[in-house]
């Protein structure tokens, strides 16, 4: 073996060892700092983890772009919704007076809120874009109470890592990490463009996360669970989206 090839072999070996060790350390650190998404397994886990980890590092406190009132899309757009179930129709017949949002899981005081209660808390509004993974988009004014306000009322445990949220419609649920849950633009939304939130846009209550694509902004919210792991929910991939082939994290 010539000197050259021996040197090459040693450097390559060292580089490979350093690479593997580096990856191991990176994986440990990523796990520790909550940079690994629940759908990190499988063939696309690498890309999904890199996207989530890098965007979480870059955007932990960044604010979604807000637009001027003149940029609100006219006519207002509403995406198609599946036929509403009987439970929804019954509540709709009663003008949503009996609509309830329940919160449980890792909280000090599990509670149930009516729409009137949610509307009695300090109301905020944002003019932000809804972007669909398909490619279309629109801008609207969203009015609601920041999710962080309600989470503070129920007292979230320090070890909480995710907030799972459920629609009254079957098999429609998502989850977000605490960076999004405590983000000032994450709203429990009950109003739009100065009025009530139309049913077509998710009324009477829709989750809004303007830093993620539209499918994370689940419509007709009735239930939240605070948890430290998404393993026990569905197939443990974080939400219904990965079970249907879509990424859990939708910041891109």
């Amino acid at each position: 073996m010539s000197n050259l090839s021996r040197r090459k072999l040693i450097t390559t070996g060292l580089a490979a060892t350093a690479g593997v060790a580096g990856l191991g350390v990176a994986a440990r650190l990523a796990q520790k700092y909550g940079l690994v998404p629940p759908d990190h397994g499988g063939f696309y886990g690498l890309g999904e983890t890199l996207t989530y980890a890098s965007q979480r590092l870059l955007t932990r406190h960044s604010l979604a772009r807000e637009f001027s009132r003149s940029q609100i899309s006219k006519p207002p757009f509403a995406n198609e919704i599946l036929p509403l179930n009987d439970a929804f129709k019954r509540l709709q017949a009663g003008a949503f007076v009996d609509w309830r949002l329940s919160i449980d899981g890792m909280v000090d005081r599990p509670a149930t809120f009516s729409l009137a209660q949610l509307k009695s808390y300090p109301s905020r509004s944002q003019i932000t874009m809804v972007q669909c993974e398909e490619g279309w988009s629109y801008v609207a004014e969203w009015i609601g109470v920041p999710l962080s306000h309600v989470l503070n009322l129920v007292g979230v445990h320090p070890q909480a890592r995710y907030v799972a949220y459920f629609s009254i419609q079957p098999d429609w649920w998502e989850s977000m990490d605490m960076a999004d849950a405590l983000h000032p633009q994450t709203f429990l939304t009950y109003g739009m463009n100065g009025g009530e939130l139309p049913v077509g846009n998710g009324g009477p209550l829709r989750m809004r996360l303007p830093r993620q694509l539209g499918y994370k902004s689940v419509k007709f919210i009735t239930h939240l669970t605070v948890t430290d792991s998404m393993k026990g929910f569905g197939r443990g991939l974080g939400s219904a989206s990965p079970e249907g082939g879509y990424a859990w994290y939708a910041g891109i």
């Binding site: 772009r65 637009f67 899309s73 993974e133 910041g251």
Partner: protein, 262 residues
């Protein structure tokens, strides 16, 4: 004035026409291992990005300019294809199957690998001299006459001289530089400008482009330009000799090493 032709003519003439008369050298390789590996990883990633990109576009084959666009707004243009969503009025009367889930997963995975591979290629090219020696045109080559000569040869579909198996000609150098330092960065930028989380941290990346829908439209046209490059690239490989060029990019060996380099 020394044009590329006058420099290369004697070199090309001195190269034996038959590869059998000169043993293939393994010391000098046409393309370094790094160039070959990054080339094929980029190829795989590009094809993955192309297929998944087409699938994503099918879900909304309409393009807009500005910040927003949806089926209620007037598009800049529409692709004359059916959509994978029944909400999009295409006039075809049928809806293609939804492929967006895996397409989006694959698109971003391939983008990550392509970006990391591209960074490795560009940074190492700076250190190894690949960028300076093989890609940046030499002073003598960078003249209108040389440009017109190579362009005319290309337009006449003239088979490249033997010397060109060992060095990129001016048009090649310029188009590779254009792809590496303009099209690739622009396609990455316009891609990121569509990410609501990315632009929350770097809003100028989308406002400079004229809005999120503008970014999507530019992303589409840059992708088309890259497909055009790929098409010409593959045609040129067939014209120059498919197997010798493939061998050079896979094993690094070229049939006839020029005298100066052995």
């Amino acid at each position: 004035m020394a044009t590329s032709e006058s420099v290369r003519q004697p070199l090309g003439a001195s190269v034996p026409s038959s590869s059998s008369s000169v043993p293939i050298t393994t010391i000098t390789s046409r393309h370094s291992a790094l160039v070959r590996i990054t080339h094929w990883i980029t190829t795989l990633c590009f094809l993955a990005l192309l297929v998944s990109g087409i699938e994503i576009v099918i879900s909304h084959p309409r393009f807009y300019w500005g910040e927003t666009g949806n089926v209620l707004t007037t598009p800049l243009f529409k692709l004359p294809i059916p959509s994978s969503r029944n909400l999009v009025p295409t006039g075809y009367g049928y809806v293609l199957p939804d492929q967006n889930g895996w397409s989006r997963y694959l698109h971003f995975q391939a983008a990550w690998i392509a970006v990391l591979t591209g960074l490795l290629y560009v940074i190492s090219s700076l250190f190894t001299g690949h960028l300076r020696k093989d890609l940046l045109p030499g002073k003598a080559d960078l003249s209108w006459r040389a440009f017109l000569t190579t362009t005319a040869n290309h337009l006449r579909f003239k088979r490249p001289s033997a010397a060109e198996a060992w060095s990129y000609n001016l048009l090649q150098r310029l188009s590779y530089l254009f792809v590496i330092f303009f099209l690739f960065p622009l396609v990455i930028w316009t891609g990121l400008a569509m990410s609501p989380a990315f632009v929350s941290a770097f809003p100028a990346t989308v406002t400079l482009l004229g809005g999120q829908q503008s970014a999507r439209t530019i992303h589409f046209f840059v992708s088309l330009t890259l497909v055009l490059f790929l098409t010409v690239h593959v045609i040129m490989i067939f014209l120059a000799g498919f197997w010798t060029r493939m061998r050079a990019m896979i094993t690094g060996r070229a049939a006839s090493p020029p005298m100066e380099r052995t």
